[in-house]
Subunit: 684 residues, 2 copies
């Protein structure tokens, strides 16, 4: 499970999550560290962590900007995360001759550790409430003006609070869809390197068919290391590695960064999801999946070079298909409707609330008209993404900090610069495929005669345009990107690179659309979201958790199976079970080293296990922590029922799937031997 | 627009259409020839055809068993239909060296005309009401027993009424979802040959992007000829070819065989469509589309060999995506809900009706559980379809006529035999792609651990199994198929052909599922459908049209544009407009002969035109007839609004798109010269 972004420019995207959640049921909730529901947990389980416990855990919890979670597990910057969170790094460090993704990777010493392009590790050091400041900045405003004022204030706060951009990052986060604004300050590590990874097939045994399923046999774990000034960083506040099997019923905490949820979206927002966004998303991604599957069948190179993209697409598709099912299940949607009705009833006498539901409905109605042009205003592909970032950055950097688009403020630029300039391989066939696909979908949904189709395509076909741009651009070369980044707007405007010219051609329309969306949708939602949050606090008190925002959260629960069509699903699998499930045929073929070491592997070692923790994509790689604060697993997936988790949590069915530290330890000792890491994991 | 079947064995499929329609609004309706609403038409237009007019037209109307409509337009068996209706025939007659689909085809003389594999032309000669007999056959029965008794009676009626199977075909049709059963007797012509076809690009100018759109520039017309005993048949009752432009507001009749509609499905059936069937269909077909697009990019051979399949998939997808939009449009579904509420209210005091809505709801609820296994119980691909037909036919032919599955009764076998034994090219890569795709989707939706997945795959992967079966089967050879057909069950059971063995392995499960679906779904629907029809007749009288069933219908309307986002869409395009729309890039590139003859073509000739006639897939190729009974066009598409036409007709927006006879005449004279056909079209 990944928090995976497809064809989405961060600065132009609109957050889907916007409303606060209803009172949480047992084990439900992705809680912020400054509002942990200790009392509720104690009521359920007779124990809850105290502030010291929470503070300690927070210091060891890591966010990976690639879209995952992780934890420090040694004093020397060693990071535990999922294999699927670093697959891109393995991939970017591979060649046809040396396929690290396929073969796995063990760095014998620090100097062998390989840099992960674009990846950055971040630890929260402070959370500050800035709600008053931000809300005051847009008092009395609406629409686009509101959004501009708010974003200017956020840019100002972020800039003022992080002066050392080399080691810190400031981010103002909108919680409860506008009910709260909090400044998160991070210690950041912009040099992250690869230390240890199993073979891809060991991590992805069962492939897409087994994804989001359990029982499961997956070694979805890897290690990275944070560096600074060319040296491993010191991380005395790391979590303690505890390679033991989980026990049925024991308490578990998952600490990480759930990416996004839309729980208690209003009915009109859910209708938009079900009626518009999800059908388009599933149809277009399914076609992309088909194109990729076939293209990868064409040669071993394509198979290798396309794998990372296909995995992301298939993972996303499974999520969106699961969401479609959830929103087409009357029993599930009935609960959501009942929750809205209850909140409305509770708020009926509260004049301060107004009618945010009607405001949201109006905003959503406006967004329905804007959605297709907005969604299809750019092609996919790494090279175009470079061009677009370069063009927007050049244009935005010429403005005062407070007038820029959110992704281009002073606090945002360092990570953007790193992503743009880090060297990594580009595969032209893959970029061409992505561009051709996305442009043909744009034409399909906009219509041939739409002016935007004509702007996107001119008189060329999607395939011709993609081929021409990908073949002729020089942006695959990091030096070319650096020259354009350093040269600013003048260099961009003078560039004869066709991809840059293309991005320049599209930019004015994209800007118009950003303004239109803010005016009719995001602006109104900022106000309505605040009102809905107020309604919720008034009705249910303030022991609530906000929708996920890819910021640090903690979820509590217990190791527990569930009942599937009358059958009890046990809490865990064993490593030995892998050999029984293997058919010899992909994706149920054994990883070679796994197979070769069958005699050495203790078949009874606990492999993967389930717990009731409430997580979602972005939580991948999160440490699973016991009540003593030690790490006993890394969360890597949810079961199939958890796919509705974007909209609501069902404790009887939703489960987190984690790989146990016991299995990782077994792999470190017997399959992918790394005694130096075993030793390092014992250091305190 | 096509009535296209994807991966669907006729005998195992369940008809979706089952309920009668509400009282028709102006121009709405696909009327049977024995119940034309002359009075209503006269009220609207001041004129309506009399019985002599209808009888004459019926005699010239042709059904093509490939899934299209057509008409006789000369006394020598010449048939007008769409190009897209005979694209498969062009394709089956092509080789890499001679691509008839691409280049078009003109037979200089009869002896050059090329046989179309699997194609049969049929003309209705008699319609007999057999409702009493059929209903009596299952009185007091339910579920599977009901379905068996009904099917036995139908087989008996068909067999008794068509003793000369070489020239006649009998088919009992279920109308109004069980309200009426009618015996259709056809004069059949099982030897249909290719006479004239334009270049593919002239017919498909604008390709998938322009499909279901208007203005349109498409020469979607072709000619076939019916043969018997090696000679063109005599068709004195042909319609009269009238190569003139349509006039705004003039009356038009479309006479053909609309394939299937689900208008006034109950709310529970619509919910099933929206929540289950359509999402799965769109997701899986989109992936197939992607696989095909990429595979066709691999070589000119693949591009040629895959085109027919891709066209079908893209056409179907556009239909299903359009239906999804319609069922996600509250304004549209609100009307359907209101119609159901009205019928319920009108029936409230009618004790004879009972509560068929509840019965349908219960049947649909049961079908929801059966649907996924039933849908995914077989792979796609021509070779597997051969194997399955051979296996089922061998098994069924050993039983008495009345005990066989519907597709295998004595009246059905001749067309099945023809489809099985006609020689045509098979492309192994394409069959492998289709099988691999469909098996991987089966595993995806069933789950890896489902017993049906294991039955379908054994321990092989979808791709391995597909490759092994396609590579090793001999069923591409018509002689092998003939030997197995002639050899019957003994030959089938003795066969070591792996595809036959595979089909044998799957057959028991498929039979179990057919029985289960009849028991819980089709059986109950047969009764409820009859009750709903009775309710409708009681409430609205009997001037109603039944849902489409790929049987002969007539729709009346007028040549008329519509208003699109405030703009008037004119009634017609001109041939000259094509040159303005052409970009030079596929699919907006001019067909070579079309381009080469630009100077000769009269740019003012009416090309394609729209009318308010109510049609749907299966109507493709239908003659558009004026009030004098002469042919002025061939219907080939609906506009984008007509995609909701499966569920309901909206006269303000839904339009039929036809190619004018004037344009076809211009092409016959100036682009693809065929003076002998021009002369033949003048003969009476």
């Amino acid at each position: 499970m990944r928090f995976h972004r497809i064809a989405c420019l961060a600065s132009v995207s609109v957050a889907a999550a916007m409303v606060a959640t209803a009172p949480a049921k047992a084990d439900e909730g992705m809680w912020t560290f400054d509002n942990f529901p200790a009392e509720a947990m104690r009521d359920t389980y007779g124990w809850a962590p105290d502030q010291a416990w929470l503070d300690k855990v927070q210091k060891g919890a890591v966010r990976l900007t690639g879209g995952c979670s992780a934890s420090f597990v040694s004093p020397k910057g060693l990071i535990l995360t999922n294999h699927h969170c670093i697959a891109t790094c393995l991939f970017d460090n591979s060649t046809s001759a040396e396929d690290l993704l396929d073969a796995g990777f063990i760095a014998a010493r620090n100097s062998d550790e390989k840099m992960c392009p674009g990846q950055q590790a971040e630890v929260v050091t402070k959370i500050t409430d800035v709600t008053g400041d931000v809300k005051a900045s847009f008092a009395g405003l609406s629409g686009d003006a509101l959004a501009r004022a708010r974003d200017a204030k956020i840019a100002e706060i972020e800039k003022a609070n992080c002066t050392d951009l080399a080691t810190t990052r400031c981010q103002v986060v909108t919680l409860f869809g506008g009910g709260q604004y909090k400044l998160y300050t991070y210690r950041k590590y912009s040099d992250v390197r690869l230390v240890w990874a199993p073979e891809d097939r060991a991590a992805t045994f069962g492939g897409d068919p087994d994804n989001f399923n359990f029982p499961r046999y997956s070694l979805d774990a890897s290690f990275l290391r944070a560096y600074e000034n060319g040296k491993p960083v010191s991380t005395p506040d790391h979590l303690v590695w505890n390679p033991r099997a989980p026990q049925e019923g024991e308490l578990t905490f998952v600490v990480g960064n759930p990416g996004s949820t839309s729980r208690l979206n209003t009915q009109s927002q859910l209708a938009f999801e079900r009626e518009v966004r999800l059908p388009i998303t599933v149809a277009t991604l399914s076609e992309l999946r088909g194109r990729l599957i076939r293209a990868m069948d064409e040669s071993p190179e394509h198979a290798r070079e396309g794998l990372d993209t296909l995995s992301g697409v298939e993972n996303s598709l499974k999520v969106y298909i699961g969401r479609t099912k959830a929103l087409n299940d009357p029993a599930f949607t009935g609960k959501l409707a009942a929750a809205e009705a209850d909140l409305k009833a509770q708020s009926a006498d509260n004049d301060a609330i107004g009618d945010p539901w009607a405001a949201v409905e109006q905003a959503v109605a406006a967004y329905r008209d804007l959605y297709i042009p907005y969604r299809f205003n750019q092609p996919s592909g790494e090279l175009f993404a470079y061009a677009q970032s370069l063009v927007f950055a050049a244009q935005e950097r010429g403005k005062p900090n407070g007038e820029r688009l959110p992704g281009y403020t002073d606090s945002s630029l360092p990570l953007m610069e790193k992503s743009l300039l880090d060297a990594k391989p580009i595969y032209p066939w893959l970029d061409e495929l992505m561009m051709g696909w996305s442009l043909s979908k744009a034409r399909e949904y906009l219509g041939v005669d739409d002016p935007q189709s004509k702007l996107l395509l001119g008189r060329e076909s999607p395939e011709q345009l993609a081929e021409r741009l990908v073949t002729n651009t020089k942006l695959a070369d990091p030096a070319v990107r650096k020259a354009l980044w350093d040269g600013g707007l003048a260099a961009i405007q003078a560039s004869d690179d066709p991809m840059i010219q293309y991005a320049l051609r599209l930019a004015p329309l994209q800007r118009e659309q950003i303004t239109a969306v803010r005016e009719a949708y995001s602006g109104p939602l900022a106000i309505a979201g605040g009102q809905l949050a107020d309604a919720r606090f008034a009705a249910y008190g303030d022991s609530l958790y906000p929708d996920a925002t890819f910021t640090l959260r903690i979820s509590y629960g217990q190791v527990k199976g569930w009942t599937e069509r009358g059958q009890e699903v046990p809490i865990a699998t064993t490593m030995g079970g892998t050999f029984e499930r293997a058919t010899g045929n992909a994706p149920f073929d054994l990883a070679p080293a796994f197979a070769a070491n069958k005699a050495k592997i203790d078949p009874s070692v606990t492999y993967d296990f389930v717990s009731t923790n409430d997580i979602i994509g972005g939580n991948s790689g999160s440490p699973v922590i016991d009540r003593n604060g030690t790490v006993i697993g890394a969360a890597f997936d949810g079961n199939i029922h958890s796919l509705g988790g974007n909209y609501g949590y069902d404790g009887t069915l939703n489960r987190t799937v984690s790989v146990s530290t016991a299995a990782v330890q077994e792999a470190l000792e017997k399959i992918y031997p790394a005694p130096h890491i075993v030793a390092e994991l014992k250091r305190r």
